[in-house]
């Protein structure tokens, strides 16, 4: 807080000195008051002041009026001008309660079966404001229930029109798929013309789900598919993405970043009856082998530069919708879990003597866009079977663990199954954070170009949460300029440069969600109002905290470069030949669609 001007404010008769740039809501938190809110987000910059749940009385000698504390600047109510903030005045308490009661009166109250059961901020504010039951009963706004899209479900009967999702979509992806429509009591939030998510160029990134205070936005759950496969006696193989372990413990009451959940997660998956439990990190290492090789080919003049990563399905959706002229720049590599799925159904199937048809691959991902990626017909390498059969989010995995009665904290730490695809490296682990794919690729590219390992191992230039990170490396006399970005709003400038022929980079890493997969749309919710054990600034720090878990895993692993993964070496030796071989191309590479239509067409 240094260098910030301070101001004296008066709350409930006491004077506090607080930074002048805060809103009343934030300042009150510093002073020991937690004012309930629903629409507050991003330090009030994105708050619409629409929910009216954070109303406080701001009184002067002339009397008091109610204001939304989430947007009211403390600079406008200094104590020395006679302003006093009253949080518990009868007028404020009554108004906050009434705002919640009104919201509840137009809200579908199937709380027991709601996907946000346990994570609902509306229930929370109902509890803390003392909302009474059924005081304002009446007609409900007509409901739209949209489950046509592969990743996201929208149920307007639960929407409280806080507008967080609208702001999130604009701010993270810069596309503004969501907006308000109709007016008055009929107002709803949705894609333009109340279209389905499946009929608009939505990235399915799920950022909107993460900020939704209620169950109005949720992921398409696929647990039933897994249950069915198990019941049918299929060989159900599960793989888990790197970012999942950084956050899964949060679902069981642990503070964000507190616990590396790898061992317990594996133990839980073993107890859930999966045939094999593998790590998508192996797939990540494989991706690096292929992608670094592809990059070297391009640098040698075979193909265009810059090469752009292809691990993030949200980014691929964005590219196909808006920048499909850049398809030649995008790496043809499948994303790690798709590669791993293809290897499971080919290499592992052969080694285990199984028919690929009898294998069911489940990916546990921090991502909702992966649900669509798994459905793509381009990702069906073995006998036309999908490389991955079901994608579960981190949150869905937690549901599976909980319903099996498994006590997380009682679990031992276990290892991933160590046959064929068991080994993984630190390079794979950091795939889950922005800059991680770049760093992993650089470790391997350095080796490929110089024949030696990069001494310090870590490339800190590409770490961190800045919008765009740039770095230039001199490797074996070659100047390689790279850039890393996440969030499509940030990526747009880089893409426009490529389109205009002005890009100077050789390699660009793009992840769809701001901060990378650790902040994916399938990750546990970060809701400070409910998670009272979290630090007050958690919304600003959770991404760093989760990222640190992955960087710590990387640091603690004996092997930290993908090309040194013994199982990868064996895979190439025994099965694939060499990176980008004909078989590798067939199994591990994909194609993209120019000017792709949305998920379903009008006539569907």
């Amino acid at each position: 807080m240094e260098n910030v001007e301070m101001i004296d404010i008066k709350i409930e008769g006491k004077i506090y000195s607080v930074p002048k740039n805060l809103t009343v809501l934030e300042a009150a938190r510093l002073c020991g008051y937690n004012i309930p809110t629903l629409c507050y987000w991003n330090h009030g910059k994105n708050s619409l002041a629409s929910c009216r749940v954070c109303l406080v009385e701001i009184a002067t000698a002339r009397g008091g009026r109610l204001f939304a504390s989430c947007v009211y600047p403390v600079a406008d109510c200094p104590a020395d001008k006679g302003f006093e903030i009253k949080i518990s005045s009868p007028m404020a308490v009554k108004a906050r309660r009434a705002s919640v009661e009104l919201l509840l009166s137009n809200h579908s109250k199937d709380c027991q079966t709601c996907v946000k059961n346990g994570h609902c901020e509306l229930l929370h504010v109902a509890s803390v404001t003392g909302a009474r039951d059924n005081v304002f009963e009446g007609e409900r706004t007509a409901t739209t229930y949209d489950e046509c899209a592969p990743g996201i479900i929208r149920d307007t009967s639960k929407c409280i029109l806080c507008g967080r999702c609208i702001e999130r979509c604009k701010e993270a992806q810069g596309i503004g798929i969501l907006g308000f429509e109709k007016r008055g009591f009929n107002t709803i939030v949705g894609p333009a013309q109340n279209a389905s998510f499946a009929k608009v160029p939505c990235l399915q990134c799920g950022q909107c789900i993460n900020v939704c205070p209620t169950g109005a936005l949720a992921e398409h759950r696929e647990i039933d598919l897994v249950d069915k496969a198990m019941a049918e006696g299929k060989y159900v193989v599960v793989q888990t993405a790197p970012a999942v372990r950084a956050a899964i413990a949060e679902e069981f009451g642990h503070k964000i970043g507190e616990q590396n959940g790898t061992g317990r997660m594996v133990a839980a998956l073993h107890r859930l009856g999966f045939y094999r439990v593998y790590d998508t990190n192996f797939g990540a290492d494989l991706t690096i082998m292929e992608e670094a090789t592809e990059l070297l080919h391009r640098i040698k003049g075979e193909g265009v530069l810059p090469q752009i990563t292809s691990c993030s399905p949200g980014w691929i959706n964005y590219m196909e919708f808006f920048y499909s002229d850049l398809i030649p720049n995008v790496s043809t590599c499948k994303s790690p879990h798709e590669m791993e799925g293809a290897i499971i159904k080919s290499y592992m199937a052969k080694a285990h003597g199984l028919k690929p048809e009898d294998i069911f691959v489940v990916s546990i991902m921090p991502c909702t866009a992966k649900k669509y990626e798994a459905d793509r017909k381009q990702n069906a390498a073995v006998n036309g079977l999908p490389d991955v059969d079901a994608v579960l989010t981190t949150r869905e995995l937690a549901v599976m663990i909980k319903r099996a009665g498994i006590l997380w904290d009682a679990l031992p730490e276990e290892e991933f199954d160590q046959d064929l695809l068991g080994q993984y490296t630190g390079a794979g682990a950091i795939f889950g954070v922005t800059g991680g794919v770049m760093e992993a690729a650089l470790r391997t590219a350095y080796h490929a170009l110089t024949g030696e390992e990069y001494g310090p191992i870590e490339f800190h230039e590409v770490r961190g949460l800045e919008a765009v990170k740039e770095a230039s490396f001199n490797i074996a006399g070659k100047e390689i300029k790279v850039a890393v970005t996440s969030g499509m709003k940030n990526a747009k400038a880089l893409l426009d440069d490529i389109r205009a022929g002005k890009s100077e980079y050789a390699f660009i890493e793009i992840m769809c969600c701001p901060g990378g997969c650790i902040n994916g749309g399938g990750q546990p919710f970060v809701k400070p109002s409910i998670q009272t054990n979290e630090d007050p600034d958690i919304l600003d720090t959770y991404r760093q905290k989760r990222a640190k878990v992955l960087y710590d895993i990387d640091k603690g692993l004996p092997v930290r470069q993908s090309h040194n993964n013994p199982d990868i070496i064996k895979l190439y030796k025994d099965f694939l030949g060499e990176p980008c071989s004909e078989l590798a191309e067939e199994l591990l590479h994909t194609t993209y669609v120019k000017d792709r239509p949305c998920y379903i067409k009008d006539e569907d």
Binding site: R52, L66, D76, L161, F180, R183, G184, F185
Partner: protein, 637 residues
């Protein structure tokens, strides 16, 4: 017209135009001048066809050189339109039809004889009135905002220049500093005419004190109150005056760009405004270095799509920016951070229309009109149960009695005055006890209503207070932007409760709940529209508590308006058994009883005729039986 690039140029033009307008109106140019009302209301009643027909007739009679024809802005007395006025005699013809044109041309213009049948007839004295100023409706009016309306052709810059146009701007630009202009406006005491009544000078001073590379003046022409049409009429009648006011504002606080935000439902106002802007650009009255000074100004028009909420200034700014029209939280106020984040003053059409007067005639003259706290004049759209429906501009401090009875000509049919709703849906109603209250911003608020933009709807004894509140609530529900929960859901719930009351399903608890919810909406909503959304209910509940109680306790609507709480009853003693009502009834629920009908001729019974009765279970309360009965046998109960 040649370019007006300097003060001397402007003076020359003003001189010439004033001369020629004067000559035209006084007949010194050797011509008769005919003007036809070109306001929206009269145009809807074919006034443009009348103008066309006049031209044809005049051409047919070869009078082109002896008669000039123009359309002008609204005359205000809309219930009597369309108007045709003839100078220099100053004869006003009312309710003119296309078929009357021949007579006007042949009898008046050629024969010099007045068409008596087209003159206004005073309803009390039954005398015919020839001159506009002698009609009671106009007697107490002072036209400042409506300056030049119904006199000048709004399509002609020359006529505006000939009728005081741009004198105020000239004084401001060439003899005053911006600070002096703000001081003058402050001294005039003018307050915002759009509703809130915030002192205009103070608003400008806020914006003047902010340093910014760009500032904006925005003219709020998104007139959304039901029944209000003053802004439309001003823009239609004298758009130049409003542009001039906007330019003076721009000069005062340093804005070089102005936006007119006008509803798309006002196509005539928009077209005239557009033309005025273009004509002013052509002669250099808009653009760079106006009148040779350092002041540059450009004006643009943006159309509103008819959302009531866009009259709220921050929602209006969002709409201009191309966003959904939803209010922004304040602070920051637009004067600090407005259009595209730049300091912006949003002023109502009527406010800007009065600014030229203040600069031209001086603040003292403006301040000499009105009351202590409210200076100048206010335009009201007088409507409802009043004889003279129309637009009136009266000094602040005029009493309701003067407005309703002297200007408005009283209540039709000799009915009893019940209330007047001022301030539109956000306002409230005033009753008989307030009739002698001088109208100004503060007295109206003190009595539980507000000035608003100037809608004034008169109600008589046949209006039900609950039904009136119900109407306004339905309007507010429809027009809520949907952003904040108290307004979006709260007004809906209030509407539902009110519906219960009108249907006899309410209880005394409903009334308590309504009051409580209304208070919450008032205190907790985001914008002024939400904060005032419950006013119609609170105001009628305060003024007519017994009427509300009758609805919930006795389950009766005393004014017999709420259909579920009233019945049409045939008095068997008065019914002559003519069967007309039974034949008119659309649901065939009127049947004869076995009570012999009342004889048409006393003492002569009519065998076979029976008194009728209404089957209340089938009656749809359409009232066709009552309106048809010639024997006064049916009443509402």
């Amino acid at each position: 017209m040649e370019k007006i690039i300097s003060t001397s140029c402007l003076d020359k033009n003003i001189g010439e135009c004033t001369e020629s307008l004067k000559a035209k109106l006084e007949g010194k140019d050797g011509k008769r001048a005919v003007v036809v009302c070109g306001g929206t209301g009269c145009i809807a009643n074919n006034s443009m066809d009348i103008e066309e027909e006049l031209r044809k007739e005049i051409a047919a009679h070869g009078l082109q050189d002896r008669v000039s024809i123009n359309h002008v802005g609204c005359f205000g007395f809309c219930s009597q339109g369309p108007f045709v006025k003839i100078f220099p005699e100053d004869t006003l013809y009312r309710a003119v039809k296309v078929s009357d044109v021949k007579a006007i041309v042949e009898k008046d213009l050629m024969g010099g004889e007045i068409c008596e049948n087209l003159l206004y007839v005073d309803p009390t004295t039954k005398e015919k009135v020839q001159r506009q100023d002698d009609i009671n409706f106009y007697k107490k009016q002072i036209r400042i905002a409506l300056h030049g309306c119904s006199l000048i052709n709004p399509d002609l810059l020359e006529e505006a220049l000939g009728y005081d146009g741009f004198k105020g701007l000239k004084r401001a630009l060439t003899t005053m500093t911006p600070q002096e202009v703000i001081d003058e406006v402050l001294a005039s005491g003018i307050r915002g005419r759009g509703g809130g009544g915030f002192p205009t000078g103070r608003k400008w001073r806020f914006a003047a004190n902010i340093k910014a590379d760009q500032k904006y003046v925005v003219c709020n022409g998104d007139e959304g109150d039901p029944g209000a049409f003053m802004d439309r009429s001003i823009l239609e009648g004298n758009p130049f005056e409003v542009i001039e006011g906007m330019m003076i504002a721009g000069y005062a606080f340093g804005a070089s760009e102005g936006y007119f935000y006008v509803r798309a439902e006002y196509p005539i106002a928009v077209a005239r405004l557009q033309r005025a802007i273009e004509d002013m650009e052509k002669v250099g009255l808009l653009g760079d270095n106006i009148l040779g000074t350092d002041f540059s100004f450009r004006a643009h028009i943006r159309l509103g799509a008819g959302a009531f909420v866009c009259g709220e200034e921050t929602a209006l700014l969002n709409s201009i920016e191309g966003k959904r029209g939803m209010p922004r939280p304040r602070p920051p106020f637009p004067a600090i951070k407005g259009l595209w984040g730049k300091p912006t003053c949003v002023n109502n059409v009527e406010t800007l229309a009065q600014i030229p007067f203040i600069l031209r005639e001086g603040a003292a003259k403006f301040a000499s009109i009105g009351t202590e706290g409210s200076k100048g004049t206010k335009v009201f759209a007088l409507g409802g149960k009043v004889n003279n429906v129309g637009l009136v501009e009266v000094p602040m401090g005029t009493t309701l009695r003067e407005l309703i009875y002297d200007i408005g000509g009283g209540i039709p049919g000799g009915k009893k005055f019940k209330a007047i709703q001022t301030g539109g849906p956000s306002g409230g109603c005033l009753t008989e006890k307030d009739l002698d209250t001088p109208i100004d911003y503060d007295t109206l608020v003190a009595r539980g209503s507000m000035m608003g933009s100037g809608g004034a709807i008169v109600m008589d004894e046949d209006n039900c207070a609950v039904d009136v509140a119900h109407f306004y609530m339905s309007f507010i529900c429809d027009e809520s932007c949907g952003k904040c929960s108290p307004c979006r859901i709260g007004t809906k719930r209030l509407y539902e409760m009110l519906t219960d009351v009108t249907q006899g399903k309410g209880t005394e608890k409903t009334l308590d709940d309504m009051k409580e919810l209304a208070t919450v909406i008032k205190q907790g909503s985001l914008c002024a529209l939400g904060q005032t959304a419950a006013n119609p209910i609170l105001s009628t509940m305060n003024n007519f508590p017994e009427e509300y109680r009758a609805h919930v306790v006795d389950k009766k609507c005393p004014a017999h308006v709420c259909k579920k709480l009233m019945a049409y009853i045939i008095d068997p003693v008065k019914c002559v058994g003519c069967t007309l009502c039974a034949r008119n009834c659309p649901v065939s629920c009127i049947k004869p009883t076995d009570i012999p009908a009342k004889p048409m001729i006393p003492g002569k019974p009519m065998p076979g005729k029976f008194a009728h009765a209404i089957d209340q279970s089938k009656c749809i309360k359409c009232g066709s039986c009552l309106s048809g009965c010639r024997f006064g046998a049916i009443e509402k109960k």
